[in-house]
């Protein structure tokens, strides 16, 4: 047996190993994609009803006597007028056979609690509507919504069905007369949280997240990049710096809820900063994000070829000039990627924000970083915790919005990386 034969024999084994490895790699990728698809399909199928709003079309009589206001009334008076009356009258008009008190109450619940505010806002916008008759599409109650979207099965026996026969009959009558319509749910993106599923929107949480992330970015990015530059380029190599390095790495591994406790004890209790506010949330999250950005920035700076520094120093650039003119621009793609990964982490973070009160039920849309607000992941948590059926779809919809922002941020990271990347 000569060498060629020995090599030939071993070749078979080697190729088999290579094939085996390739197959395993493919399998793991396929599994990962399958799970991802499963997750996305599940969320998407559950979420799509939330983006569709069911509306009930009613002709309301806005007469001055019922409302107690006229076209000349000021906003204050319009605000306090009773807009429930015309809607109820319109419903009774459509179903004159309803007379009993209990039945009436059922009938009134065809439209959402928000319908009267919808009408009020329209009148405030245009006081000339007072004294006229208007055909308006009112927001439907979540039960009506559920029946129309099929989440409540009409064929179930009455005892097992949340919407009883009377109400179902009315809904079907309205459906038959074309008074029930559906359309894109703009309200979901324009409103804050609510106890009523059909009225609940995500705008408050989106803005809350935005403000929180702005504070986080404004605090953590400059501090982290400065720290990374100092540690990598200027710091003397001694035990104290080693100690700091170890602690930065440790900080990255601290459970996030601990940062929440710190925020509660230091910022809220000691410095008396506002509770539930994005400013505190942002500070807490920037503590959490700092080590991530520092570590990413340091490795990006370390990866800059030393020849670039030497070139600058050899021309008589000072240390500072060589760092800021050459090293930093070259490290920027890595620094930005690290920053956005840190931000994406902060966007999805829930635990520390629970501790500083961002878990409160907040209807108002925050106007600044000091207003009480909540954030997207906590909105998901809050809705997932609500018993009403309508919140199920809202939960999935909120997850979709959260995922959308995460994907958008990652896309930005990739774009920036490509844009600033220079080859040498």
């Amino acid at each position: 047996m000569n060498n060629t034969d020995i090599v030939k024999q071993s070749l078979k084994k080697r190729y088999f190993k290579e094939r085996l490895f390739k197959t395993m790699g493919m399998l793991s990728i396929v599994t990962a994609i399958l799970f991802l698809l499963l997750l996305l399909t599940d969320i998407f199928t559950k979420a799509w009803p939330a983006f569709i709003q069911t509306r009930v079309e009613l002709t309301v009589d806005l007469n001055e006597a019922d409302l107690g206001i006229d076209a000349q009334s000021d906003e204050q008076a319009i605000m306090s007028a009773d807009f429930r009356k015309p809607i109820r009258a319109a419903l009774l008009n459509t179903f004159p056979e309803v007379t009993k008190r209990k039945q009436k109450r059922e009938l009134y619940s065809l439209t959402s609690m928000g319908a009267e505010f919808q009408l009020r806002d329209m009148v405030i916008e245009n006081p000339q509507l007072i004294g006229t008759q208007q055909t308006i599409q009112f927001m439907a109650d979540d039960d009506v919504d559920a029946v129309i979207k099929g989440t409540i099965d009409r064929l179930l026996p009455e005892s097992d069905r949340r919407v009883k026969n009377d109400k179902l009959g009315w809904i079907e009558t309205l459906e038959a007369s074309g008074q029930i319509t559906t359309g894109f749910n703009w309200h979901f993106f324009a409103a804050g949280d609510s106890r009523e599923p059909e009225m609940a929107g995500i705008k408050g949480a989106i803005l809350g997240s935005l403000y929180t992330l702005l504070v986080t970015l404004a605090l953590s990015f400059p501090v982290a990049v400065a720290a990374a530059i100092y540690l990598e380029e200027f710091a003397p190599k001694n035990r104290f710096i080693d100690f700091i390095e170890i602690n930065i790495n440790n900080l990255a591994a601290v459970p996030s809820i601990v940062f929440g406790l710190l925020g509660l004890a230091v910022f809220i209790n000691f410095f008396s900063m506002p509770r539930s506010a994005p400013i505190v949330g942002g500070i807490v999250l920037s503590l959490m994000t700092l080590p991530t950005i520092i570590i990413a920035s340091r490795s990006a700076i370390k990866a800059v070829p030393p020849s670039l520094r030497e070139a600058a120093l050899g021309l008589g650039a000072s240390k500072m000039q060589s760092v800021f003119h050459h090293v930093l621009p070259a490290a920027l793609p890595g620094i930005l990627t690290g920053t956005i990964i840190g931000m994406a982490q902060a966007l999805g973070e829930t635990a520390p924000l629970l501790m500083i009160g961002m878990v409160a039920f907040i209807v108002d849309i925050p106007q600044s970083v000091t207003d009480p607000s909540t954030v997207l992941p906590i909105q998901v948590f809050l809705w997932a915790d609500s018993p009403e059926r309508g919140f199920l779809e809202k939960t999935s919809a909120a997850i979709m919005v959260l995922l959308f922002f995460l994907i958008a941020m990652n896309a930005i990271a990739i774009y920036l990386r490509k844009k600033f990347e220079k080859k040498w």
């Binding site: 020849s307 120093l313 008589g316 220079k422």
Partner: protein, 291 residues
């Protein structure tokens, strides 16, 4: 002395210190280096230089003069300390934490390792070209303009344009790149990149240029161009070149210094070193018996 460099960095002009000690040190006998390590009109003179990396001594007691407006080649086998020695001349070794330099290095009679000496100012006077072409990832124009800009050597755009053009002409690159001054410098060929680095160095108008194996990463044609360039540059600059190629040393230099194991073995006129070396080690090296 380049006044603009001084003004740009707000550096006080260097004081002339007492030369007594310097004069004394010039008269020391160096028994371990053969040939003529000293010369009459030195631009840089080094005396008893030791360089340590932590506890490792890389350079032992090197005393060598570098004459003005001439090219001196430093040759020797790998790891002999010639690059380390070169980097002591503009204090590039300062960037290495564990590196210590002992002895005296005088540029125009002033100790460059004294506390008052600003390394930034020194490097504006003693420029450096590296082994691997390392243009900045910027345009050709910006590469050359970088040094003048940071030092504030020019007063306006027109002056800067002239300086850039002039430096590129001196580096023999202008004809090749004049139509694409704003194209990235990293897009040039290796030889062009190295000439760009030379242009970048001479744009600062240094007095001395240190070259650390400037042609070792280039093909023979690019190498020939660099060598030609070195010959032209010696009119205006003092050049110290480290090279692995003895032919190159023979072609470009007037004096040659042979290093071995961190010691300076022999210094002499290039012709003499290559035709009639005095030291056994030098002879063995140039005849290719090791290295």
């Amino acid at each position: 002395m380049n006044e603009a460099v001084l003004n740009g960095l707000n550096e006080p002009t260097m004081k002339v210190q007492s030369n007594r000690e310097t004069e004394d040190s010039l008269n020391i006998e160096y028994t371990d280096t053969v040939g003529q390590p000293l010369c009459d009109d030195p631009k840089i003179s080094t005396r008893n230089v030791d360089v340590f990396y932590a506890d490792n001594q890389a350079i032992h007691d090197v005393s060598l003069d570098i004459g003005a407006h001439q090219v001196i080649a430093l040759i020797g086998p790998s790891g002999c300390g010639k690059s380390t020695y070169l980097r002591t001349l503009n204090r590039m070794n300062d960037t290495i934490d564990i590196c210590r330099v002992k002895g005296q290095i005088l540029l125009d009679g002033h100790d460059i390792y004294q506390k008052k000496q600003d390394p930034v100012l020194l490097r504006a006077r003693v420029g450096m070209v590296f082994q691997k072409p390392n243009p900045f990832p910027k345009s050709i124009y910006d590469n050359v303009a970088y040094g003048p800009r940071i030092h504030g050597l020019t007063r306006n755009k027109a002056e800067l344009d002239d300086l850039v053009e002039d430096s590129l002409i001196k580096a023999g690159l202008f004809q090749e790149v004049k139509d694409r001054l704003h194209a990235p410098g990293t897009g040039l060929s290796g030889g062009q990149q190295q000439r760009l680095c030379i242009a970048r160095t001479i744009a600062v108008q240094p007095e001395v240029i240190l070259m650390d194996e400037p042609a070792s990463a280039l093909d023979p044609i690019a190498t020939a161009k660099i060598e030609e360039l070195i010959n032209e540059l010696k009119e205006n600059f003092t050049i110290v070149i480290v090279t692995h190629s003895m032919q190159q040393a023979a072609r470009v230099s007037q004096r040659t210094a042979y290093f071995h194991m961190g010691r300076l073995i022999e210094v002499g006129e290039t012709d003499q070193i290559f035709t009639n070396p005095s030291h056994e080690l030098t002879e063995k090296y140039i005849t290719g018996r090791f290295g």
